[in-house]
């Protein structure tokens, strides 16, 4: 590959399944080949195994290459220890491929309904790069508070003059534990345009339609939640208890009927 773009999807704390959904789709559709992995011993807690959605899952950090489209892809859990060393290791690997820029894909739980537009925001570690990204319809993010690993990576890369962006997409709060196909479409559409990937997103369009039909069916069964979602759409905030109740109901319904 010649100066590939580097796309990172975090498996842990993956709001709306956006990080892993993006890299899984790219790897599958672009025929990504596994090229290496970071040994878990130094960075992950190996005192046992994690259980995610009732499934025992080993922590992993795997690199893939999509040579045809000049993409380097990482699918990884967030490390439990020595995070700075871990981030530097990822950047060492990126540098060894002479990566020109990198992206992390992240979801942000938002008080919006599934029928509302998802806002896609970006933060870059270099102002000119943000300008380029803005041309693709992403908004500028402003924030002050505790950082996510993606932000720590941006800062670490900035020290090494490696250009990067964290993409943050707003996910309806009740879809945070599920795959939000609408958001996934938007992220993949961005990469499609930015890197001329010529990916067909028809499959995703079908998944969005299907998800909306299923949500509609669910809301028919539970009118009380439909009412709350209408309130949300008209700008009325729900209290914490109501939000948790809706999330739980959605999760249970989709788990029973398949995510």
């Amino acid at each position: 590959m010649k100066k590939p773009a580097f796309i990172i999807g975090w498996k842990s704390k993956d709001v709306g399944g956006i990080g892993s959904g993006t890299v899984d789709f790219l790897i599958e559709k672009l025929g990504g080949q596994k090229i290496g992995k970071v040994s878990p011993v130094d960075f992950f807690s190996l005192s046992g195994v994690n259980i995610e959605y009732d499934i025992a899952t080993m922590q992993e950090c795997i690199f893939y290459a999509c040579e045809d489209r000049n993409l380097l892809i990482l699918k990884s859990d967030e490390p439990d220890k020595d995070r700075f060393a871990f981030l530097n290791l990822l950047l060492d690997i990126a540098e060894s491929f002479q990566t020109k820029e990198f992206y992390t894909i992240n979801g942000n739980p938002a008080l919006i309904s599934h029928a509302q537009t998802r806002q896609m925001l970006s933060v870059c570690n270099e102002p000119r790069f943000m300008k380029t990204i803005e041309e693709y319809g992403l908004s500028k993010l402003s924030y002050e508070g505790p950082p996510a690993l993606s932000s720590f990576l941006l800062w670490t890369a900035q020290r090494r003059t490696i250009k990067g962006s964290s993409i943050w997409i707003n996910i309806p709060f009740y879809l945070t534990q599920l795959q939000d196909f609408q958001s996934l479409y938007l992220v993949l559409d961005f990469f499609n345009r930015k890197y001329s990937l010529h990916l067909s997103l028809d499959e995703l369009n079908a998944a969005i339609q299907n998800q909306n039909v299923r949500i509609e069916k669910f809301l028919e069964e539970v009118p009380e939640i439909r009412k709350n979602i209408h309130l949300l759409e008209s700008g009325i905030m729900l209290d914490n208890k109501e939000r948790i109740h809706i999330m739980q109901q959605f999760y249970d319904f989709f788990r029973k009927t398949g995510k």
């Binding site: 570690n125 102002p127 943000m130 990204i133 924030y143 002050e144 508070g145 505790p146 950082p147 720590f152």
Partner: protein, 307 residues
């Protein structure tokens, strides 16, 4: 900051803002811990002597950042817990004060950070290092906390014994001659010994029935009394005394709310210190611990905070 860049020393992971010339300094280190006893003591000392910042350990190697600022889509700034060195020049021997805002997670990281602190101690030929922490023990909060002292050289014991209100682990009933000081306050004195520097840890007593997160300036005050005598420094601790009054009042308020029977048990702790240790039998002690434990567990279940 241009100055910082000029003096940045990559091999040490330390950024120098100044390079003061110091004469026979002693180093005093403090990190947060139980009751923040050592941390408060060292911060009070730093403020009282008016010490000046001269170096800091780069946080990114040891800590996860605590805050980030992003403006208009561009990463602006990131903040890590600080690990800062201060100095104070004095006629009778200079001081280096180290304050770490957080202890690293994991033994490897703690060891690495300790090495950085000792690199500075060696660079400035520190003759002695003090660390400070808490000794969680059977002490009543209305009593004056003693200071447990643990040196890394036996010749320091007679010197410590000359100071009032100090105690050694072997003096404590039920304690064998062996124990452990957890965290960097302990590790550093061990590491200092390995590198040929004499060091001691001063631990203020902390009542075992208080939540470990409770700041306990009374313990810090006891530590400061011993520390200031050992480094020959008169401290202005007026602010600390006012803080102690406030904390005592808050603890007393909660103390009055606990069941009378339990309070009676806790009151017995006073006897342990005022008379011989044997005044509380093993059965009474066991009963006391059980009642405290039951009480605290009951509070947890009620969703209230424990004292």
């Amino acid at each position: 900051m241009l100055f910082a860049v000029l003096f940045r020393s990559n091999d040490m992971g330390i950024i120098f803002l100044k390079k003061p010339r110091l004469k026979n300094p002693v180093m005093i280190c403090g990190w947060p811990g139980i009751g923040n006893i050592g941390f408060i003591a060292v911060k009070t000392l730093k403020k009282s002597v008016g010490a000046e910042k001269f170096a800091e350990i780069e946080g990114c190697d040891f800590f996860y950042p605590r805050k980030i600022r992003i403006s208009e889509g561009v990463l602006d700034d990131i903040e890590f817990p600080t690990s800062t060195f201060y100095f104070k020049k004095r006629e009778h021997g200079d001081l280096i004060i180290f304050i770490g805002e957080e202890q690293p997670r994991g033994q490897k990281m703690s060891y690495q950070l300790g090495k950085h602190v000792l690199d500075i101690a060696i660079r400035y030929r520190c003759k002695r290092i003090f660390t400070s922490g808490a000794a969680v023990t059977l002490i009543h909060h209305q009593m004056k906390p003693r200071v447990w002292a643990v040196p890394n050289r036996s010749h320091l014991i007679p010197e410590i014994m000359r100071h009032e209100n100090t105690i050694f682990m072997s003096d404590i009933e039920g304690h064998p001659d062996q124990g452990q000081i957890s965290g960097l306050n302990g590790l550093l004195i061990g590491m200092a010994g390995e590198r040929g520097i004499e060091a001691l840890c001063l631990m203020g007593e902390f009542p075992l029935y208080l939540a470990h997160e409770t700041s306990y300036p009374k313990g810090s005050q006891s530590v400061l009394e011993v520390l200031s005598a050992m480094i020959a420094e008169d401290l202005d601790s007026g602010r600390l005394k006012r803080w102690i009054q406030r904390t005592d009042a808050e603890i007393d308020k909660v103390y009055q709310q606990i069941p009378a029977e339990l309070r009676q048990q806790i009151e017995k702790i006073k006897l342990i210190r005022q008379t011989k240790p044997s005044s509380l039998t093993d059965e009474e002690k066991e009963e006391f611990f059980k009642e405290v434990e039951d009480f605290l567990r009951g509070n947890e279940q009620d969703g209230e905070s424990s004292i």
